[in-house]
């Protein structure tokens, strides 16, 4: 099964490529490409197509009503809005963390470096419960904020905090290697030519790390959109105010409304995909710009 499409592909395509005389340096291009396409189909496309087929049990009108109901619309706004804000915060502070980890030596650096990965490894529900415990009115942090009228747990603000938590490693881990590769000499050259600190950063460092930053942002954002476990405990789940879209999907499943649930999931998927496409296009544009 697994060999069939790839070998068919390679045997059909191999003579053609040799006839054209495009000799690649590395062998096995056809085989690996065939395998890649097949693997992506198996892991990504087939499950997603099942989603589409489930949705097709609805008529167009039913679909439209399901995905544009006021509560569902409010949840899109919350999910995408909170995810976007969280990804922006991570963009700034993730860069800061990466910068410190790359450019400075300090005791305990290894530990700090390992801490960054924690949100990757932690079950999200645990993150949600601990954040709620911290920020609730009787929590360590919440008890000092609530008297001043600052409510974080069970509000959209709490959702953003949870999403910041789970998105942080994405930005740090994508920017870190690129920062490590940027040569100090470039900065020294810029400084010797009379550039200010700010100019050095914006003209020399930023262009080289911007693609990585955008990738990190996109990953943090995409992850936040689909996040359920860490958010659900801190959200408050009030209709029209703090219901995230994944909760709407769960609610529809509770009614055995499979088609409605997949319809909303499909909308999320399409929006996410479009946004990621835009971010990728931005990245490409940025690469071309900085290459000249």
């Amino acid at each position: 099964m697994s060999g069939a499409p790839s070998s068919a592909l390679s045997s059909a395509a191999a003579p053609v490529s040799r006839a054209r005389g495009t000799r690649r340096v590395l062998p096995g291009f056809n085989l690996t490409l065939g395998y890649t396409v097949f693997y992506l189909c198996l892991i990504v496309l087939i499950p997603l197509s099942a989603l589409v087929f489930k949705t097709f049990t609805l008529t167009w009108d039913q679909f439209w009503v399901a995905v544009t109901a006021p509560r569902v619309m409010a949840s899109y706004r919350l999910t995408f809005g909170a995810s976007f804000i969280a990804a922006l915060v991570n963009l700034v502070f993730g860069l800061l963390v990466a910068w410190v980890l790359v450019r400075y030596k300090f005791p305990g650096k290894k530990i700090v470096d390992a801490l960054v990965d924690l949100p990757f490894a932690l079950p999200t529900a645990v993150a949600g419960i601990s954040l709620t415990a911290l920020l609730a009115g009787n929590g360590w942090i919440g008890q000092y904020l609530e008297p001043h009228g600052i409510k974080l747990a069970f509000t959209p603000a709490g959702i953003v905090i949870a999403l910041i938590f789970i998105g942080l490693p994405f930005v740090v881990r994508t920017v870190q290697p690129v920062l490590e590769d940027t040569e100090k000499e470039l900065e020294e050259a810029a400084t010797s030519l009379g550039a200010t600190r700010l100019q050095t950063f914006t003209r020399v460092i930023l262009p080289s790390i911007l693609p990585a930053l955008l990738t990190g942002f996109a990953m943090a954002f995409a992850r936040a959109v689909g996040e359920y476990g860490s958010v659900i405990f801190i959200a408050g789940n009030m209709p029209m105010i703090s219901e995230i879209t994944p909760l709407i999907i769960i609610g529809k499943l509770e009614q055995y409304d499979y088609a409605g649930a997949t319809a909303v999931a499909l909308v999320m998927l399409v929006i996410s995909f479009l946004l990621l496409l835009v971010i990728n296009a931005l990245q490409g544009w940025q690469r071309r710009r900085s290459a000249t």
Binding site: R71, G137, M238, P239, I250, G251, E254
Partner: protein
Amino acid sequence: MTSRIKTILAAVVFAAAASGAIAQTTTLLNASYDVAREFYKDINPAFIASYKKATGKDVKIDQAHGGSSAQARAVADGLDADVVTMNTTTDVDFLAGIGVVAKDWQKRFPDNASPTTSTMLFLVRNGNPKGIKDWEDLTKPGVQVIVVNPKTGGNGRYAYLAAWGYVKKKGGTDAQAAEFVGKLFKNVPVLGKGGRDATTIFLQRNIGDVLITFESEVLSIDREFGAGKVDAVYPSISVLAENPVAIVERTVAKKGTADVAKAYLDFLYSEEGQEIAAKHALRPRSPAVLKKYAATFKPVQLFTVAELFGSLGEAQKVHFNDGGQFDKLYTPGTK
């Protein structure tokens, strides 16, 4: 490398042989709801012993727990459970609708195939500082009520129906009931995702003055958080929540476990099974056991869902499905 493969192969063969040997004992899988974990931990050994005594055969019981509807979906999608023990009839109806469970499942066992029941009551802070006695008190300004989101949990659906039924039983109209429930939900600062989540919000986060939950939850709360943290308040009128059980015909036909599965569910109705239920604060059907535990189960005027709403499925359509009565409470403009 090859030696490692040999080892793995040997292990696989051995495991296959071993599982063949174990297959001599019948194994039942009970797909159940989340908070029934402790209850079945006590029921299963008792059943295994009584079955051994009656038939001389060994039986093993595996449990799978999760949200009631999630479990029903898992069974529908192919989880090979022999029996389902749920906390809302709609979950079993769903399985009956797709032919996994007998159409007349409610007639297959006594008491609507519900060996145990529960009801909704209030938990208040120790000493009842807000003086909460009945449903009316939950709609007063300044009282914060914690309840499960009816969209995502059976516990919340029952709380909602109990409040609605209270108005109806007092001679109110549907319009008055809608207004009353609307006022109650305006006092809800946070909706829990499920029963345990709501409990956590109320007790660990200290949010709210009153928690509406199942009577059966009170015991586990006392066990979990220590007695004396909360007082249980019995409202004048509440809803009877049935915990339905059914045999999964698809599985028992395949595994040939119909008899054992029936014996297992019958055991829940036996005096021994009913006694274990009472110890777990689930209301027993047996009058004798109920009398024995009268201190635990205070008398409340209970109405059934069938009496006021037709069935839980009907209530689901009218109240909880998208665009239903519950959604209307939260549509913009009704604030």
